[in-house]
Point group: C2
Chain length 181, copies 2
C-alpha cells in the first residue's frame, strides 16, 4: 500500500513557521535540496491544510509560485479546508471532506506515496487516525520561540523507528522515521 509521509523543515522547538507563516529563518542548504530532490519522485500526491496553503500563497511571489508549479510537476495537490469553496485553485484541489476519511480512501488507490506538507493540524488528525507511515524532518539550527507547531496535541503515543539521519554542513539534521503501527 502507498505510504503517507509527514515531513518538512522545522526549528529545534519543532515549529514549521513563525506565527505569521514566515519561513525566512530556513537555512538554504544544498544537501537538503539534494535530499528533497531524491525523495520527490516517491510521491504523486501532496496534501496540505488550508492554513499552510493560504500562507504559501500569500508568502510567495508569482515567480515563486511558477517555480513551485514547475517543481510540483504533474503532482496532484490537495488542500483540506472547511472554509474555502471546494474546487480547483491555482492547480490545487480544494476539498472539504474529512481528511482522515479522504486519506484512508486515497491509500487504497494505486499510486505512489503521499506527502503531507503540513501543517500540524492536518498531521494531528492523520496521526490520530493512524494513517501516517513515515515522518521526516530537516531540523534547522534555531529555536524560534513561538510559531506554527509541527506537532499538535494528540491522544496517542506514536512509536518510531529511525530509518535515516543525515547531518548537513549548515548544521541542519535530517531525520526520517518509520511509524510503528
Amino acid at each position: 500500500m502507498r505510504k503517507v509521509v509527514y515531513g518538512g523543515a522545522t526549528s529545534l522547538d519543532q515549529m514549521l513557521a513563525r506565527s505569521d507563516g514566515a519561513v525566512d529563518w530556513l537555512v538554504m542548504d544544498p544537501d537538503a535540496m539534494k535530499i528533497m530532490g531524491e525523495m520527490w519522485p516517491r510521491f504523486d500526491v501532496m496534501l496540505m491544510g488550508r492554513k499552510t496553503f493560504t500562507h504559501s500563497m500569500e508568502q510567495f511571489s508569482e515567480e515563486d509560485l511558477k517555480k513551485a508549479e514547475k517543481m510540483k510537476g504533474g503532482m496532484r495537490s490537495v488542500v483540506f479546508s472547511t472554509t474555502l469553496e471546494p474546487g480547483e485553485r491555482a492547480g490545487y484541489e480544494i476539498v472539504n471532506t474529512d481528511a482522515a476519511e479522504f486519506v484512508r480512501e486515497l491509500k487504497k488507490e494505486p499510486g505512489k506515496d503521499i506527502m503531507v506538507m503540513g501543517g500540524g493540524e492536518l498531521a494531528a488528525s492523520l496521526f490520530e487516525a493512524g494513517l501516517i507511515d513515515e515522518v521526516g524532518f530537516n531540523i534547522q539550527p534555531v529555536v524560534l520561540g513561538t510559531g506554527i507547531a509541527a506537532f499538535r496535541p494528540i491522544s496517542r503515543q506514536i512509536d518510531l523507528e529511525l530509518i535515516e539521519c543525515k547531518v548537513m554542513k549548515s548544521g541542519c539534521v535530517y531525520v526520517l522515521y518509520r511509524v510503528k503501527n
Copy 2:
C-alpha cells in the same frame, strides 16, 4: 566564563516527560549513557525548576535516589521554587530568588559548567535572559502527543550552531548546539 548547558532527553515532539512527569518511554541506550558519562565531569552545578524536582522525587524510589545521589557526586544541585520553603532538602538547595539573576551571578563565579536539567519553564526564563550557552538533547524515536514541553514560548529567536550529532543504535539522535549569542 563557565557555560550554561540546557539538555535532556526529549521525544521528537520535544516533550521532556508525559503530562504527569513520567519518563517510562525513555529508551535506555548504552551509547546515551556513555555520552552522559563523558559530559558529566564538565559540570559542578545542576539547576532545575520546582516541577522537575518534585516529579523526580515522586517518581524515583529510595534506591533510585541513592543512586542519583551517588552519580551526582558532590555536585551542587539548585532547585528554583516560589512555593517550596528555601533551604536544603535531600541534598538539593531550594532557592526562591529570580532564576536569571541567580544564574547571572553564578556564571561570574569560578567553577565548572552549569547544567540546566529542566524543565521548560526554567529554560525559557534563562533563554529570555540570554544565559544559555549550549543546548543538548537526546531525541528519542517517539512522538508523545502531549506532555511537558522542553521549549516554552519565548519572545526571541535563538540561533544555534551544531557542535555534534550522534546517531545511536536504538534510534536516538543526540544533538549538541552552541547558542550564538
